[in-house]
């Protein structure tokens, strides 16, 4: 966008604008585009979720407003706009007003580092991944503000639950993403996506693999385990079933949103769905190659760039469109999984959620980091890095290294999963036995 604005302002119009003006204008344009996209995505996601979950329950879902109900979210939006904004008398008025803003604004920022296609990213921050989660953690302040300012016990309980949950699940989420940072040596999301070219095997590991844009991290044991852990953590962070405890309607009504109505409520809703969308998108980006897919590499090679001045700019556009399509398709696929989970499972209890996070997910991600380190060592290191053992049978080819790494990490990860799961099942079996032995030896959940 900078190039385009520079071209128009300085070359075409001959304004000789200073650098920062061009930068400001280009950024404003990008921000405007993203801010237009985000609510539209939310509108569609709500419709998508309602229709999909209705199908899972043998229903039809909203199909009255517009063709097949496509305008239903707009009707909902109109309803939200026209609703009375109720602020409880005993609420802390200013904080009550600020809370939805503090919740919704940061998630919009998160769009900044999301790569939509080759070279299509608002800001390619070298610390993009960290930025993503740092910004999302601001939202929790908003939740806490909402819960406290409402002056309602349900709201406060909901806010406490939300914050406890989000803060503790940030740890496994970040830990599970660490492998990608280690493998690519960068926190830039663009770099992570670019590293996932190839065909089942990433070109970063075996450079001579044909590039079909399918060298996704999820095809490695390390990546797969990290994906599972991250997706679970993402569910908790996005407050999705089975971790929708903060807004468990059957227990604490609507959690921190209990005392909100109208547009303020809609802002929370918006923030939540944008966050869900982004979490799905980030899952797709880090584990499923983001905009990578068959055809992208060819289009990019044909397109106009600094390396290839003879390229056709049409291919730039085509590559961008195809990349966006791949990213959105993957994102919606993950959102479908989220919807299916919501349709299938009850929710956990808050203490069970904590147990699961701290006793299962975090150890597993820790072991996964070990696997990732081994992966790097086996695929890249040699005697120079003190890993001469890999060359016991002469210099291995990249493919052999990859296979060895695959086998080793697979064994480690499966063993880790099996061990932790077995602990869990043993616990369950012991509980069962205790129950069967009189139903009395069971220890109830301890008070906090």
């Amino acid at each position: 966008m900078y190039d385009v604005v520079d071209f128009i302002l300085n070359t075409q119009l001959g304004l000789n604008s200073p650098d920062w003006v061009v930068m400001l204008i280009s950024h404003l344009i990008v921000v405007a585009i993203l801010f237009a996209i985000a609510p539209v995505q939310v509108l569609f996601l709500t419709y998508y979720e309602r229709r999909a979950i209705a199908r899972m329950q043998d229903r039809v879902g909203p199909n009255r407003v517009g063709y097949e109900g496509l305008l239903q979210p707009i009707a909902d939006g109109v309803k939200m706009f026209t609703k009375e904004d109720i602020v409880p008398v005993s609420a802390d008025q200013r904080v009550h007003l600020l809370a939805p803003i503090v919740t919704a604004a940061p998630v919009m920022y998160m769009f900044a580092v999301l790569p939509w296609g080759p070279n299509m990213i608002a800001v390619d921050l070298p610390t993009g991944l960290l930025f993503f989660f740092a910004i999302s953690s601001i939202s929790t302040v908003g939740l806490l503000m909402a819960g406290w300012a409402s002056n309602n016990k349900f709201a406060l309980l909901g806010a406490m639950r939300a914050v406890a949950q989000v803060v503790s699940y940030e740890i496994p989420a970040l830990l599970s993403l660490l492998f990608a940072v280690m493998l690519t040596g960068s926190m830039s999301l663009m770099a992570i996506v670019e590293a996932q070219s190839g065909l089942f095997i990433s070109t970063t590991d075996v450079p001579n693999i044909p590039d079909l844009g399918l060298g996704w991290f999820v095809f490695t044991p390390v990546g797969f385990l990290a994906f599972v852990c991250f997706f679970i953590a993402a569910l908790a962070e996005g407050e999705r079933t089975p971790f929708d405890i903060p807004e468990a309607d059957s227990e604490i009504v609507a959690g921190y949103m209990t005392e909100y109505s109208g547009m303020k409520f809609a802002l929370f809703y918006l923030a939540q769905y944008i966050l869900n969308f982004l979490l799905c998108a980030i899952t797709a980006t880090i584990f499923f190659g983001g905009w990578q897919g068959p055809g992208i590499a060819w289009l990019v090679s044909q397109s106009l760039s600094a390396d290839n001045p003879a390229g056709n700019p049409v291919y730039n556009v085509l590559a961008g469109m195809l990349g966006t399509f791949y990213l959105l398709a993957k994102t919606y696929a993950f959102f479908f999984v989220m919807v299916a989970l919501r349709g299938a499972f009850p929710r956990l209890r808050i203490d069970q959620l904590m147990n699961f996070g701290w006793k299962f997910l975090i150890p597993l991600t820790m072991i996964n980091i070990l696997s990732a380190a081994l992966w790097i060592a086996i695929t890249r290191w040699g005697t120079a890095q003190g890993f001469g053992i890999i060359e016991f049978a002469g210099e291995p080819s990249n493919l052999v290294r990859w296979l060895i790494a695959f086998a080793v990490t697979l064994v480690i990860n499966v063993a880790a999963y099996w061990f932790l799961a077995r602990l869990n099942i043993q616990d369950h079996v012991a509980r069962q036995a205790a129950l069967a032995a009189g139903g009395l030896a069971v220890s109830p959940p301890r008070s906090a």
Partner: protein, 221 residues
């Protein structure tokens, strides 16, 4: 560009100072905590101005996302967060202010004197990147880093000790019904065999319509 940076620095500085002032002067303790978050945010912006992008993000992640949230959490769990009878300022605030100013001067004055004000150099964008920080922690500042780690560990252990229930002083945990029954069974090891209801006779006769006693009691309520 310099001008822009300087203006932004000024704005950020004002934000930080104003927020800090509000933290200490505002009566509502929750509001104070929220102002603290604004202050932290300003500091993150300062880091950004210094091209210390990584530090800025870590500042947001840790100070806002974790520390401030925990502060808020703790504050919300305490009772009587704003007592109108309590004076806003600490009783001997004058002497406190004096000490604070002196300490601040002790830090600031040598800096002012030793700094070369003539050369304002744009810091390298990578001077505080994750790689550089990592090398710094693991090489030059290994000892302070480890000491800090031990300190944090001690804090962690302390927190656990505080949170752990004292076996003697702990409140009686709420027993579930099943546990109560188990205790009762232990206390009265061999209750005589009993019959909860009279043996039902054949279905032809009318059984006495005796609703359990508590139903009648409960219905009055």
């Amino acid at each position: 560009m310099d001008l822009v940076v300087q203006i932004m620095f000024g704005v950020t500085g004002l934000l930080i100072l104003g927020a800090a002032l509000m933290v200490v002067s505002v009566r509502n303790i929750i509001h104070a905590a929220l102002w603290l978050i604004a202050c932290f945010f300003g500091i993150a912006m300062l880091y950004l101005l210094l091209h210390a992008e990584f530090l800025a993000i870590v500042q947001v992640l840790l100070y806002i996302g974790a520390v401030a949230v925990l502060v808020l959490f703790a504050v919300m769990l305490t009772r009587q967060i704003d007592d109108p009878d309590e004076p806003v300022l600490f009783q001997r605030w004058r002497s406190t202010l004096l000490i604070a100013v002196l300490l601040f001067a002790a830090v600031l004055v040598p800096t002012i004197y030793t700094h070369d004000w003539q050369t304002f150099t744009d810091p390298q964008p990578t001077f505080a990147g994750p790689r550089e920080l990592g090398f710094a922690f693991m090489n030059a500042y290994l000892l302070p880093f480890q000491i800090a780690a031990v300190l944090l560990l001690a804090a962690l252990v302390g927190a656990i000790i505080i949170a752990m229930e004292d076996q003697e002083q702990r409140r009686v945990r709420v027993l579930t019904l099943a546990e109560e029954v188990a205790l009762r069974r232990e206390r009265e090891p061999s209750p005589p065999a009993r019959s909860a209801h009279p043996q039902p006779t054949s279905s032809s006769t009318t059984p006495p319509p005796v609703p359990p006693a508590h139903e009648q009691a409960g219905e009055g309520a």
